[in-house]
Symmetry: C2
Subunit: 190 residues, 2 copies
């Protein structure tokens, strides 16, 4: 998606440790018009596949997931990253290491929101090492639901997440695929 690439080049910032900061349109400030275009793009790619639910992770996955769910007429479920008082004991859970926060996070989804009949589309903001997507896939496996595909806004193709998902035969659609990321240069795979 050319527009995402242009926005990454004009508004993204490269930080230490191969971190791409996109807080100005996705990770803290959310560009609502861009979310509409993202939702349109994902829904056109994944429509007709009988998706019943979109699964994402709080917080930055919620906006693109919501824009897509609205167009696919399905609800969005977001995994919580820590147990709160409103989390009941009947939950699916899995762990993921966050490289930006440098800690293990437990992802939790209440069992009542995913059933074995669900056909699930995972949406997330970034795919790098694939930790979050693998944790969401583990939750889907626990529920007996089926995974239809994975929609990613920004993929760091030089990290191992995409390769791992390809090897598992997962249908991954990434809107921007970054092949090289440095202070001087950002390159995309067309």
């Amino acid at each position: 998606m050319k527009k995402i690439e242009e926005i990454i080049l004009s508004r993204g910032q490269v930080l230490d440790g191969n971190i791409l900061r996109v807080d100005s349109f996705l990770n803290q400030q959310i560009d609502t018009r861009l979310m509409e275009e993202i939702g349109k793009e994902f829904s056109e790619y994944f429509k007709g596949k009988g998706i019943t639910k979109i699964l994402t992770v709080e917080s930055s996955g919620i906006a693109p997931a919501l824009a897509t769910g609205r167009r696919l007429s399905c609800d969005v479920v977001f995994a919580r990253k820590q147990k709160s008082l409103t989390t009941d004991d009947y939950s699916y859970s899995s762990t993921a290491y966050s490289y930006t926060k440098e800690e293990m996070k437990q992802l939790i989804v209440s069992k009542e929101f995913i059933s074995e009949d669900d056909k699930i589309l995972i949406i997330d903001d970034f795919l790098a090492n694939g930790q979050a997507v693998k944790a969401l896939m583990a939750i889907i496996n626990q529920s007996g639901a089926s995974l239809v595909g994975v929609g990613i806004v920004i993929e760091k193709s030089f990290q191992e997440g995409r390769r791992l998902l390809d090897e598992m035969g997962v249908d991954v659609y990434s809107l921007a695929r970054i092949s090289e990321l440095s202070y001087e240069n950002i390159e995309f795979i067309d």
Copy 2:
């Protein structure tokens, strides 16, 4: 908003400590059609007031904020609840006590996303003691921006948040106002 009241009665659960669990449509599973109606309702109430930005808190405020921002053609900024590596040193911050998580949370917004020219609408899922809204108002004060109003999906009118905001002369629009909450009964203010 009658529809929210009906959904609270049919799909909400009352937990210990006056906690209303609405995970099935707002706080973990997000009903995308309901969010559209919420966005429509807030945007109709607050339109024509020159709002340039919507401010909310991760995670549960993001969905209603996004649905409203899309209709008001403005971006959404969400305050983060903890410092991450992508948070720079140039941030506004304020603290809020979370009764559901039983801890103090620091709310952080990067300075680059709110300027003194902004006219801000705060959107949040719940208003109870007003801790989160007061923290967001402190952030707006730090920035020099002006507060246009506050949109709340579910107000616990028997707690002190609404009264505090009324006393400050804040324009608060709550879609559902709960006057009584117990295992046996939920009452609304019309």
